[in-house]
Amino acid sequence: MTTMTDPPQESFRLSMLLNDTRYRSYTFQFIALIVLVALFAYLGSNLVQNLRAAGLNISYEFLGEPAGYDINQRLIEYESQSSHWRAAIVGILNTLLVAFLACVTATILGVAAGVLRLSKNWLVSKLMAIYVEAFRNVPVLIWIIIIFTVMTAVLPSPRAFRGEDATSSMLLDSLAFTSQGVFVPGLVFGTGGLLVVLTLLASIAGMVFYGKYRTKKLYDEGKELPGWVGWAILIVPTILVYQAFSLTAGQVENRIIVPSEIAAADVSLEQFGERLVTDKTNINYCVVTDSTASALGKKMLLGLPAMELTNPDAVKMKSTRFFSMDDAKTAFAAGSCNMLVVPASEAANFASSVETGAVALATNVKDNAPIAFDTPYLANFRFTDGITVRGSLIALWFALAIYTGAFIAENVRAGIQAISKGQTEAAASLGLRPGRIMNLVVLPQALRVIIPPLISQYLNITKNSSLAIAVGYMDITGTLGGITLNQTGRAIECVLLLMLFYLVISLSISGVMNIYNNAVKLKER
């Protein structure tokens, strides 16, 4: 028989907090915590006291007041009477936009450069080495300014596109590279346009699923399903939907309505153009953002000789944008714009309903497709319509991408080199070709090494985007931390908000990337 005697239960004495190593560390941690809290409390009260002494108080009421300033690049609706808070949101979206673009571009650049730097081709690997060393060793601010300066200094100003001796012209009649930015066509989604896009997205998802199913089938049952079915899933439904809409809604005829004082009834668009030149009338085109006929009508108008930029007597034109046909009709009737494309069935009614008199031109505008291009054109001073990619965005985006891309290239190279040579050789001995070895054996394992430093590079891009003000890009630092701070003088409030914003964004990015990291990291059992 064995007897078990419990060790005598030691009762806790206060002196053990210092003498017993088990508790001592807690004591010191607790003291450190109290000191830290006291320090913060002191700093906080010092700040509050000094602010009160200076007659200032911390208040966020200014966020609701009208901002009073304009912002050039805005992804949501904003005008100078919107609140400071909305200006901050516009800034946040601009920050996110440039961060997203730069992250994607930097990843592509970085992975390509990292893989190519390990290439056996001497020239390619040395070129990549030069890229990495040159770009990561020069501060990113310098790159931003260099790209911006080159853009503004080298590219022609919009003025160079006009006149008989124009020195520049639009590329393919739809792209303009100017010192004020790059102007590219935008997309107009007419009837069914969004449905086409949704179909395309669903098809892409379907193609991916089919691909996965095909692989599974191959691994599980050894049967290989045909590869073309995937492509068919991608292409066929989209084309069908597109054609369906262009053969139905797209066949609707449209007429151009203009005030009767600038055109006689039932003249053709060409005759109308000639009269515009003799009368020196200015066009203020009513653009309806969800009407492909509107975009098409504008294109037909711009194709007239009267509108050619090299024509010294060219008619001056500008656009006014409306979000719905009804708004545009009201504005046309009120005289805010003088050229509107409406469906032929409504044309006569609408023209007679305009009190100041309006006529429909004889030329038919047939929009044909659910999706159309909205091409930019040179208005009075600058290109308008389409999508404007401003020089500041390009400079910031490219500079962040090539700078951070150089760091990512090194991460990728490190990740690839971390995979032992034996793996490559084993894969080669199974008869895999080099490309497949890289894709199937090396990269999946290398990702485990690459992802963690990649997260911090993404965070760097987001934080470095605050250098935007150097080129006048209106990110959150430019709106909330710049103009709003200046105009309201609420420096502490604005800076605290800025810190909070960058904190939230950075934590979200690293949170999402950590989920991905957990998905690819080595599964240990």
Binding site: L43, N50, A53, Y69, T152, S157, Q180, I469
Partner: protein, 340 residues
């Protein structure tokens, strides 16, 4: 990130503390330091710009030098601190500079909400527009759709938005940090129009290779009374700067110039106001906490009119007429309270 919160809080607390200390007595601080820290622009020809030898020169610089001369007896005892539209107020509030003489518009919110004290107006200005001549624009109302370069963090930004909104025309703002950058962008055609105070436009145009190729549009869209300012709450220092500026203006009105000031100050003359100004009668200097001949020293660099003519007057490249900035006796707005 936690760390940066700590540092942020430390910086903010430190700034507030520094402001608290500095406002105790700027006059004493300046005397003890032996140097006046004066905030100016980063470079605007005629108003404040370093010359080839690195010496600051200009209209606003003249005010700084006059204050330094009045307080320290030496017009060169100035440390010029270049500030941008964005950094100027922080620099003044934090005590980094003792006064700001930087084309700063006197507005309600800056005076009341930002806790500064404008001591007077040294230049009555208004916001104007400059465009290249070959654009063929003759009025700002024709600028529909134009790209406009604008210095960010200034009142011009708000005036611009108001002007275009009230005329119901559109524009594309290009925000820019300094005048030099704006000039470069404007010349490169990255913007069609440059807008700032009309005096600033004239100064900028003067620095162009081809000034005749650019025109100032007739519209002046705002009132921009520019003046030096100090921190709120230090009234003694505010008085010193205010009355130094007034001394420059009064001296011109009374005909006291840099040429005759030492002669007039040698002994009391016939005009009691001149005597009081120059310290040969009364004790105005003592009331300010300065020497009796403070104004004599301040005027060594010239009175208001002399500083104007030398830096931005019609015979300089900037070529500004006196206009609103003439003495009240000559139809302008300059009107100094009496020295009594």
């Amino acid at each position: 990130m936690k760390k940066s919160v700590i540092f942020g809080a430390l910086t903010v607390a430190g700034m507030a503390a520094a402001a608290g200390v500095a406002s105790a007595g700027t006059l004493d601080d300046v005397k003890a330091r032996g140097k006046l820290n004066c905030g100016v622009t980063t470079g605007l020809v005629g108003f404040a710009a370093p010359d080839a030898n690195g010496n600051w020169d200009g209209f606003d610089v003249g005010v700084c030098r006059a204050v330094a001369a009045a307080v320290l007896g030496d017009p060169t005892a100035v440390e010029f601190v270049p500030t941008t539209g964005k950094t100027r107020f922080t620099a003044l509030a934090s005590g980094e500079i003792d006064m700001l003489a930087r084309n700063t518009t006197w507005t309600f919110s800056r005076d009341v909400d930002l806790k500064f004290e404008f001591v007077g107006v040294n230049y009555y200005d208004g916001q104007g527009f400059m465009v290249p001549k070959d654009l063929g624009v003759s009025s700002a109302k024709d600028l529909d759709g134009a790209t406009v370069c604008i210095q960010t963090g200034t009142t011009t930004e708000l005036n611009l938005a108001d002007f275009f909104r009230s005329n119901n025309i559109s524009y594309e703002p290009v925000p820019i940090e300094t005048n030099a950058e704006a000039q470069q962008q404007y010349l490169a055609g990255a913007c069609d129009v440059y807008t700032t105070d009309a005096s600033g436009l004239a100064a900028t145009r003067a620095a162009f290779e081809d000034p005749a190729g650019h025109v100032l549009l007739p519209e002046i869209v705002s009132k921009e009374p520019l003046g030096p300012l100090v921190r709120h709450g230090d009234n003694e220092w505010g008085d010193v700067v205010r009355w130094t500026l007034n001394a420059l203006i009064t001296a011109e009105e009374l005909g006291v110039t840099s040429a005759n000031v030492s002669e007039l100050a040698a002994s009391a003359g016939d005009n009691p106001e001149v005597n009081r100004l120059l310290g040969t009668e009364g004790n105005l200097g003592e009331m300010l906490g300065l020497d009796a001949d403070w104004a004599v020293k301040a005027l060594a660099g010239g009175n208001y009119g002399e500083i104007f003519e030398k830096n931005i007057g019609e015979n300089t490249p900037v070529g500004l007429a006196r206009g609103l900035n003439a003495q009240w006796t000559e139809g302008g707005l300059l009107y100094s309270p009496p020295f009594r």
